[in-house]
Amino acid sequence: MVSALMNVMIAALSVFCLFPVAWMLYSSVKDEAAFKRNIIGLPTEFHFENYAAAIKTGKMDIAFVNSVLVSVTAVAILIFIAFMAGVIFARYAFKGKMLLYTMFLSGMLIPVHSLLIPVFIELKFFSLINNRLVLALIYTAFGLPKAIFLVTTFAATIPREIEEAVIMDGGSTFDIFFKVFLPISKPVLSTVTILSFLDAWNEFPFSLILMGKPELKTLPIALTYFTGQHSVQYTPMMAGLTIATLPVVVIYFIFHKKIMEGMVAGSVKG
């Protein structure tokens, strides 16, 4: 009896978590009138022109490209530099190493919004506002603490014998990094890739402040075009939200186990 009750309650919670997203997805292909008549009804016809309208209103095609460019760049750079730094922290000693490592880790505690004003001022001074590469670098910087932490803890568990074997065979540092650590680190690097991609794709405040020109805006900002103007059309808006979210949802469907593991590691062990 208790068991049945528990199952029902948790099932209700799962539905509560999934339904709004499902509602967004199927409402996006409804006719606006059909939507207003029956808010939760399933669509009887499929109106994909909502997507065309959404793309036009929100300039989503440009925004999509911008989001892809910025996110991919940010993640690519992050993987490369966090990998190098993480391996070094895990293996080699140098003066000030602990200080440096602590500095990176403490980055996880800083509320990123506090940095909006200073970063804006920094960039304005160098006339680097409205620069997508700079935005990508900012996302890389914000992803560094977690990425370095994950790589370092992972790399520390790799047995030394493998490196030693490479050295004996006359391998250089380059060899150690790329022939030993890189292949073995694929799991942690893929976790870092997915997590930091999600963070970059979903990011809002910095893109809002730093991308003033319409042709440079990313997807989250493009969504704001739907409100304020004339009367709100709900179904195109749902289509817009779907466009912005679909990559994330697809990635989640495929990689959900990895994402969950990565977030636990990043939040708890950090």
Partner: protein
């Protein structure tokens, strides 16, 4: 991390490998923190006139009613988040780890999904849910003949913060469920089995075994939830813009408006610094409260 003197590469190579990370971090995190503190001592509107006014911004901050209101909203969120996100997540996780629950993987998948969505998307989605005419909530209430329950969810000063709490809890509860499940899985089975042999039922097991052994994780989760609530921005920006008036303004929102809308960068920086300080104090308080708890169970 052992020292590895024999196999250590040249200092130059080490330096070059560390340089990009350190440089990026300094430019976009470390230095901006210093700058935020620096600018909080000035009266500045972004142009050439920067007037040093010492602690005047902070004196004003202490008396600022809007700041107080926004901090109270942050605290309300923090309390709700701790109770609903962390508290309920703990209960759910206990159930997921118990034998009673079916379809565990599906539930974890479903409950965690909102975590990966963009806060902006969550904001827009729930804004539509709360819409008076076409929103999901009012539609469901009307279909169930509960029209009298309909309220101005986002327009009533007394209700708006409570309305906003729900999407925020909705988004993050999955993260805590997953964190707790992974912590609970680490508790050795034997302890539960010997407790069952001694006649302990589900609830007793939860209170006397699960709770003490996951106290560390509970502490981290509470700290995460509290510091997360101090950072809330996108949800408020999208759903209410801080309104009506300033009823749903939170710290980050107030700092944003002051700096970028009212163009008062000095005071805006002071607000940011204020939020950082309050966050650190709250985290320290959590450490103290939970620090004692752990000793009790050692």
């Amino acid at each position: 991390m052992e020292q590895n003197w024999i196999l250590r590469p040249k200092g130059k190579i080490l330096f070059l490998c560390m340089l990009p990370s350190v440089a990026l971090f300094l430019i976009f995190t470390a230095i901006p923190v210093g700058m935020a503190v620096y600018y909080s001592f000035f009266n500045w509107s972004g142009g050439k006139n920067k007037k040093f006014i010492g602690l005047a911004n902070f004196a004003h901050l202490l008396k600022d009613e809007v700041f107080h209101e926004s901090l109270m909203n942050n605290f309300l969120l923090a309390v709700c988040c701790v109770i609903f996100q962390v508290g309920i997540a703990f209960i759910i996780s206990s159930l997921i780890c118990s034998k009673m629950l079916k379809l565990k993987a599906f539930h974890q998948f479903a409950i965690f999904m909102p975590v990966v969505l963009a806060p902006v998307v969550v904001g827009f989605l729930w804004k539509i849910v709360y819409n008076q005419d076409y929103g999901l909530l009012n539609f469901l209430l009307r279909s169930m003949n509960l029209e009298s329950w309909i309220k101005p969810w986002l327009d009533d000063v007394g209700i708006v913060m409570k309305s906003i709490t729900i999407p925020i809890v909705w988004q993050w509860i999955g993260l805590y469920v997953v964190i707790f499940v992974s912590a609970m899985k680490n508790i050795p089975e034997e302890i539960f089995e010997s407790a069952a042999l001694d006649g302990a039922n589900g609830i007793k097991k939860a209170i006397y075994i699960t709770w003490p052994m996951t106290l560390d994780t509970v502490k981290i989760s509470v700290i995460l939830a509290v510091s997360g609530c101090m950072k809330i921005f996108e949800h408020i920006y999208i759903i209410t813009g801080g309104g009506p008036g300033t009823a749903s303004t939170v710290g980050a929102m107030y700092a944003y408006k002051t700096s970028f809308i009212k163009q008062k960068f000095g005071y805006g920086s002071a607000i940011s610094v204020g939020i950082m300080v309050v966050s650190l104090v709250l985290v320290a308080m959590c450490n103290i409260i939970f620090g004692k708890g752990k000793e009790r169970y050692e």
